[in-house]
Amino acid sequence: MSPILEVKNLYKNYGSTEVLKDINVSIEKGDFLVLVGPSGCGKSTLLNCIAGLEPITGGDMFIDGQNMTNVSPKDRDIAMVFQSYALYPTMTVAKNITFGMKVRGIDQATQDAKLKYVSTQLQIEPLLHRKPGQLSGGQRQRVAMGRALVRDPKLFLFDEPLSNLDAKLRVEMRTEIKALHQRLGASMVYVTHDQIEAMTLATKIVVMKGGIIQQIGTPAEIYNRPANLFVADFMGSPAMNLIPAKTKVNGKGMQIEIARKDADPIVLTDKRNTDLPENVIIGVRPEDIVDAALARTDDTQQADCLIDIVEPAGADTFAVMQLGGKHVTARLHAETTAAAGTAQRLAFDLGKVSYFEPETGLRLN
């Protein structure tokens, strides 16, 4: 079976500025692909190119095996939710939702049935006779979703549909979208610059920067094995600790030495990764630095660290210290005894550690 969407060597220029460079992505039916990246990296542009709303400079685009590179948006069998919702201001909610069906000449009975189904699902029945101007942000967002969902297309495109919502509503809608995806089994491409949204929704994540794909993978791959420093830093909150270190070969494995300002260096031994250059950047997630008393795995190695700041965050407490000239965050238990200005014995879990080449930023292990 051919992939539902296949983008091959796509280039997009606006005049002389290259916005997208050699994009290659493909997704299978039922996939939830999330595009993430900082503002201005070309996410919306890529989505517009997939929809056919922007002409592309080079490359090919296949939807369900058909070459759609030069096909107009209306014939691509896609539905799209826009960053700004783009509801038709003079039409009621009901008309907004049925406009696409009306244009396509679908009979009234089917229109009514679909409208009813979708408005029930999205809980917007009481709003059907209002104009978009009379809706709250969250309601507009659901109407915009509804307009896409009545269509039952091959591919859904979402451009940051939750970016305008408050934190609580955003979490609710995120869950709703996930449920929707599981219920419909639809294929989706979803743009966001919120990496939590990306982790929770995606079956596959594309991390972009400056119009170039940095990494494609499942959320777990992206999180656990970031391909370079940019991805490591971008995905995860709090961000992965990226600490400059020196390595030495010793009998048992690789000896990792992390300098400290007012104390002896921390020395850790990695038994698995034995082929590292002398200078590396070691990437450790905050949750892999824990209270020594609570450490479980065999890979842990302990060290006393001077804690600078303690930030309780409900379920966890984050402790910040200085290692290798960087702020390093550890994710400690809520009931931790750590206190600012005192030393705490911490355990470093090297089981999921990442190493990066300092110059190129590329992953080493």
Partner: protein, 297 residues
């Protein structure tokens, strides 16, 4: 307590304020009177008999109100050899202005829609040239236009005048609609494209319903321009197709013997009435349309 004294030192006392207000209103009143004076003279003169005009004061109210002058102006005054008054020419002006206003507004709306929302190669140059067209003086186009009208076989006809006014108005109407439509987010067009709508469908279903304020602006502007036009009217018409402005000129200039000021005044008011009416009826939309902001989705 010290906070209480912390107030701007240059506040005016209530009396000063009142006096200033008073002076302001007096001044405004004087200006209003100044501008209304000609209209006042026109109306009173048109209601006087010739005798009274000759003997009386220019600014005095009519001793005896008579509508004879109006009747003559409407259906009896002579424009050269014919003596049918303003009526046939008034009709001509309507026949010219209404289609010309409608056509130039519709085409301007489509032009503006294309330039603002369907950016094509050279759209900016196209728009710049159209704008340039707005500022070409009438006199410059007279001769070429006469030749074009001749080639099209519509010189001296009402369709010919409609054509001239449509062409000349397009620059303005396109400008109005373009500026209005650029403030509409392009994602609206994109959404409609994804929904399967084409060029005209998007215009009809999405842009036109948003356009009332700017349509009013365009209609008022075009109507005033076309109705008040004299140069095109006098250049491209012939006996029988002349607009009201040309007829007015002829009435005023072609009276032999005694000058009938009252008829002239009545004729002038008749010629100006439709534009006045349009402003009174739609004036507030005009202001609103000119200042209308972007559309909230």
């Amino acid at each position: 307590m010290t906070d209480m004294s912390y107030a701007p030192t240059r506040t005016q006392s209530p009396t000063t304020k009142l006096v200033l207000r008073f002076i302001l209103y007096i001044l405004l009143g004087v200006f209003a009177l100044f501008y209304l004076m000609p209209l006042f003279v026109m109306i009173t003169t048109s209601l006087k008999s010739l005798d009274e005009i000759r003997t009386g004061d220019l600014v005095s109210l009519p001793r005896e109100v008579t509508f004879d002058a109006w009747r003559t102006a409407w259906s009896g005054a002579c424009t050269g050899i014919q003596c049918e008054g303003m009526r046939p020419y008034f009709l001509n002006s309507l026949l010219i202005a209404i289609p010309a206003v409608l056509i130039s507004t519709i085409i301007g709306a489509l032009n503006g829609y294309v330039v603002a929302q369907w950016k094509f190669k050279g759209a900016n140059i196209f728009f710049a040239l159209l704008l340039f067209g707005c500022f070409i003086p009438f006199q410059v186009v007279l001769l070429p236009m006469a030749i074009v009208l001749g080639k099209l076989g519509i010189s001296g006809t009402i369709p010919g005048l409609i054509f001239v006014h449509v062409i000349y108005g397009l620059g303005f109407t396109t400008l109005f609609f373009r500026n209005y439509y650029v403030s509409i987010p392009s994602e609206l067009t994109k959404a409609a494209k994804v929904d399967g709508a084409g060029f005209f469908r998007i215009f009809w279903s999405i842009f036109l319903p948003l356009s009332l304020p700017i349509i009013v602006v365009s209609v008022i502007w075009q109507f005033t321009q076309i109705w008040n036009d004299f140069l095109f009217g006098v250049s491209f018409s012939q006996a029988g197709t002349q607009p009201v402005t040309v007829a007015l000129n002829n009435i005023v200039n072609s009276t032999t013997g005694v000058k009938e000021y009252n008829v002239d005044m009545a004729a002038a008011i008749i010629a100006a009435l439709p534009t006045l009416l349009v402003y009174v009826v739609a004036g507030k939309y005009f202001i609103r349309g000119l200042t209308a902001g972007s559309v909230k989705g």
